[in-house]
Amino acid sequence: MTTSTTSTPFREGLFREGPDGPALLAGRCTRCGRVSFPAPDMCLDCRGRELETVELGGEAELLCATTVHMPNRHFPPGHAVGFVVLPGGVRIFTQLRPVEDKPFRSGMPMELEIAPLWREDDADVLAYRFVPA
């Protein structure tokens, strides 16, 4: 079996990687200011039609975490997931990468990383996950 080094983002428009680190991309309504991730086609709060892309940066706060002991979609038993709260109060579900000596606890600072999380069609799929800072 040959292993390709090709990698492809999980979906377009979810995140970007730059020299100053990775950032999640969200949509901000120009009328009411609601910030949504992933960026919707229209504002889900006021139904405004104009949204601008904003970067949510790479820092977040852990709300809650669990370890899943069954295989689930792309992930083997023993993977960690949770909800994190991004700047501006946006709460998202995400994969988590455990770090020794930094057990998950509510309120701890987390850092975004973009990593190959699974393989599809002979390519690494790049997606977002959070790691204790």
Binding site: F10, R11, R34, S36, P38, L44, D45, L63, C64, A65, T66, T67, V68, H69, M70, N72, R73, H74, F75, H79, V81, G82, F83, G89, V90, R91, F93, T94, Q95, S106, A127
Partner: protein, 381 residues
Amino acid sequence: MHDVVVLGVGQSEFGKFPERGIAEMGGAAARTAIADAGIDPGDLQAAFSSRVYEAMITSQTILKDLGVTGIEMVNVENACAGGSTAVRSLYKDIAAGYVDVGIAIGVESMTTSPVAGKLIPPDRYDLDGQMGLSMPVLFALQAKRLMETHGAKEEDFAQVSVKAHEFGALNPKAQYRKRFTVEEVLGSRMIADPITLLQCCPNTDGAAAVVLASADFARKYTEKPVRITGSSLISGDYDFKRADLTTMPLGVQAAAAAYEQAGIGPEDVDVVELHDAFATEELVHYEDLGLCPRGESVGLLRSGATSLGGRIPVNPSGGLLSLGHPLAASGVRIICELTDQLRGRAGDRQVPGARVGLAQMLGGAATGLDAGAASVHILTV
């Protein structure tokens, strides 16, 4: 609006029956419900059926074997709330006067479904689903918040399962008629921390059916009708509208609508059947249904009020945890249980003197929503 009553109820055997088709299981439930109603199958004027997996003309597939053809048949899906959706759809048609009598059926073959033995995921292309969200994961994370905000302990979650199995042991129709201790529940295999295997509903095949009729039609068949006095179905709202994961606003909205229609409050309810696919979520539903003030669900559980012999027993059937959870069947099955309770024929698990029952179902998950659907029905004698 016409008054609507539950005229007959039926439940098939619940368990693992991969060799049984939906016509066999649905037929067993439908025949029982029709016989219980005392009507002829030919009296049925409409049928609403629900199934989540591999659904196609479910009503017709079941009812053709009962001699029921040439009437309006509708097949609906709303995840775990699908059965409740079928009941409500029929309820509305009778209340509006389109038909006088009809049947609602929920059926599921979980052991032959694509999710047999797996964690139930959202839609294939759902963002959070791709990222690893599934139903037990969602409820495990909600449970983690309950531990932070409500002081819930792992033993409390286990107690919900212990309670369900104490009831289930008394129900001849339950898939599992076995009692467990808190230690046994906590000692079972971990699925998604803090949810262990015995805090998850099992894979269940089975069906349930109810015959509903207008009060005028029913008069000929019963002197003590079980009336549907409240019925609601609400879709999920945006997750950003709730402060935390420990409430499900669609559930609050569904309860409020049903209470308002019935002209009662939670203090008037004698017995409750609700969605306990995972033990932990029962605490959230206590608060969302108004069975206790916000923040006091752990205290309500610990007081024993929702247990066997308590002030307001919850899931006397054994619930999804013990009775079993054939997804689309459950929303119909809870109407069956409450009807039996209000008729005083629930056997060893009878809630003494029950006059008002509340049936709640919750279904589905999608990125950005608190859940897919919530439904509440209030039954009164």
